[in-house]
């Protein structure tokens, strides 16, 4: 598979320009991102790596529209969303993003089906349509026989598959995976990564944060961060200007 490298705006899902994030802790100012410039193109699979405190989580939160930049610009699908308000960012998360977390983050009192349906519910889909779609998604992650179960009755790998199904429910432009295998054993980790690879091959754009290099191997592009800056970019055919 040939990685897509293009500088035209349309093909860039995420573009950060001189991205700064400064946290104020008491009187002290801590710079989490110190002026980052990077683009992530449609259809790519990225791994963001780095030690804790390197700024990779902050970057993930910024990209995931959960946090806002202090300075600089964030272009999502070519549109500057740096100044967007809370509701507008919520709408971007709902319509364009899918999240996968280290600790799965399923809602415990809801069944597998209801968990998968959750984004559709906020999109305002009717119950019958979203139930049918949830069954399709469950089948894609081989959990069609677990729809009525609650998260507590599932194994870690199964829970992460539910989370993946939920992340895919709205057919998002970008999947954000934050240490998706952090809580899984190596065999299950491999299964999850293979599943993600399948979806990537089907055309999904994935940005993943990890600190395990063998997990990062699944991604075509790897971005190493240190002290809030990009240290190094490795990857097949990424043009580093």
């Amino acid at each position: 598979m040939k990685p897509i490298v293009s500088n035209t705006k349309q093909d860039m899902i995420v573009k950060l320009e001189n991205a700064h994030k400064i946290y104020t802790m008491g009187s002290q100012k801590v710079s989490a991102l110190g002026g980052i410039n990077i683009s992530f193109s449609r259809g790519s699979f990225w791994a963001i790596m780095g030690f804790s405190g390197s700024g990779k989580s902050t970057m993930m939160n910024i990209i995931g529209c959960l946090d806002r930049l202090t300075h600089g610009r964030y272009l999502f699908k070519g549109k500057d969303i740096s100044g967007h308000g809370d509701d507008a960012l919520s709408d971007i998360r709902l319509n364009h993003l899918g999240f996968i977390f280290q600790s799965f983050n399923l809602i415990p009192q809801l069944t597998v089906q209801r968990n998968i349906e959750l984004p559709l519910y906020y999109l305002g889909w009717d119950a019958i349509k979203s139930a049918a779609h949830a069954r399709e998604l469950a089948a894609m992650v081989s959990l069609e026989d677990r729809l009525a179960h609650r998260p507590a009755e599932l194994s870690g790998g199964q829970m992460q598959r539910v989370a993946i199904a939920r992340a895919l429910a709205t057919n998002p432009d970008l999947i954000l995976a934050d240490e998706p295998t952090g809580n899984l054993d190596s065999k299950t980790s491999q299964q999850i990564m293979e599943l993600l690879t399948t979806f990537h091959k089907a055309g999904k754009t994935i940005i993943m944060v990890t600190h395990e290099s063998h997990i990062a191997e699944y991604a075509q592009n790897r971005l190493y961060m240190k002290d809030g800056l990009i240290e190094q970019i490795k990857g097949n055919g990424y043009a580093t200007d």
Partner: protein, 422 residues
């Protein structure tokens, strides 16, 4: 679409509450007892005041009752062996009222005389009421048999009597009723009718009729029994001359009752040197009763308000705990793309579901308690639609008000921190 969404919010809210059945139930109890006590208290209050109002209405809300009373001076002078004491309302008073006030529709003279009556072996101490046929219009009671007094009876001074059901049972037991002759004092009277009677006290006033009444034409009473009565008190014999014991005036318009009563009072003072009469206005009592009912309702409302407030605080407390407990869930929902408003709605619905279900259980409780009170304490209770709808509405409102702050707190949660929360 919006309805379907609301319905789903509702069902998922109920499902969440069902996860903690005991906790949800305990949270509800505050509202349950709040609403229950309000409904019950309103029912008891309504029952008590309704009884009082009905009693007062029996006096007639358009009536003015003027009664003869022995003035204080007369009372003291009579002990100084005065031969005869003369006081009270006169036939002239009755005529003056008739002539002076156009608002007076009916004007009933009443003469009251205690007399022993007999029929065969039966005897009964009667209160002979000498009056006109208008008595029966001013104090309407059910006619059980025969007829009431007529103008012809007045004109002819007929020796006829209308008995009460009680009197008829005592005197006429086992005999013919209508047409029977009985002896009252030394004279023979024909029983022409039997009516029901009401007894009791309404507010500060005796209801005009009694069980032991025997109604005779006033003309007859005057001729047969005269105006002078003999009283034996503390060893001394005392003679009293009272022409009329009561005048019952009925006014055509309720609005004119009180002005007419005042005007009658002014006129009476011109002709009575001593204050030997008393004017009672049932309407004033009625107004007084209604005013005290309002006060009662305000007191009830305050108690109810406080108990519902306590219920509301209980809900707020649990909802705040729930927000803290479910902070991660809030983070997940926000990350997925829920807007702040949607989080508010979710938590608000849970609070309102709690308070509404609590309200309904409270109503069930509030209906049961008055029922038990009526059953065991024989106290009248009345449940009005307002008495149910008001507490229910308030309980729903409580859910909204006390759910708002926890819901707003939930919506303010930072999703990044919430997702990291263990």
């Amino acid at each position: 679409m919006q309805q379907i969404k609301f319905f789903r919010e509702l069902t998922s809210g109920i499902q969440t509450l069902m996860l903690h059945k005991l906790r949800s139930f305990l949270t509800m109890l505050g509202v349950v007892f709040g609403v229950g006590s309000v409904v019950a208290m309103l029912a008891v209050g309504e029952g008590a005041s309704k009884e009082a109002l009905e009693q007062i209405k029996k006096l007639g809300s358009n009536n003015i009752i003027i009664s003869s009373v022995k003035s204080m001076e007369e009372e003291s002078s009579s002990t100084t062996r005065s031969f005869i004491s003369i006081y009270g309302l006169t036939y002239q008073d009755h005529e003056r009222i008739q002539e002076s006030f156009s608002s007076v529709k009916k004007n009933v003279p009443v003469k009251l005389i205690r007399k022993e009556s007999r029929l065969g072996h039966n005897s009964l101490e009667l209160r002979v009421v000498g009056t006109s046929q208008q008595w029966f219009e001013v104090i309407p009671r059910e006619l059980l048999g025969g007829r009431i007094l007529t103008q012809t009876d007045m004109d002819k001074q007929s020796a006829v009597v209308v008995l009460t059901e009680f009197g008829a049972r005592k005197l006429l037991a086992g005999m013919n009723t209508i047409g029977q002759s009985i002896r009252i004092g030394g004279d023979s009277f024909e029983v022409v009718g039997i009516i029901k009677s009401e007894t009791g006290q309404a507010g500060a006033m005796q209801i005009p009729d009694r069980d032991i009444d025997a109604y005779v034409p006033i003309t007859t009473a005057k001729t047969y029994f005269g105006d002078v009565t003999m009283k034996i008190s503390s060893g001394s014999r005392l003679r009293e001359k009272v022409e009329l014991h009561q005048i019952i005036v009925q006014v055509e318009d309720t609005a004119k009752v009180e002005p007419t009563a005042e005007a009658i009072d002014r006129m009476m003072t011109l002709f009575h040197k001593k204050k030997d009469y008393q004017i009672n206005v049932p309407l004033a009592l009625l107004k007084q009763a209604e005013a005290s009912k309002r006060t009662f309702n305000i007191v009830l409302g305050s108690i109810a308000g406080i108990s519902l407030l306590v219920g509301g605080i209980g809900i707020m407390n649990i909802m705040l705990a729930s927000v803290t407990e479910r902070i991660r869930e809030i983070g997940i929902r926000r990350a997925i793309g829920a807007r702040r408003r949607q989080i508010i709605v979710q938590f608000l619905i849970e609070a309102v579901v709690l308070s509404t279900i609590g309200g309904f259980i409270g109503i069930a409780l509030g209906i049961t308690i008055p029922w038990l009170i009526t059953l065991f304490a024989k106290m009248p209770t009345v449940i009005t639609p307002t008495g149910l709808l008001l507490p229910l509405t308030v309980s729903i409102g409580i859910g909204i008000i006390f759910g708002l702050y926890p819901a707003a707190r939930a919506a303010r949660v930072d999703p990044i921190i919430a997702l990291r929360h263990e």
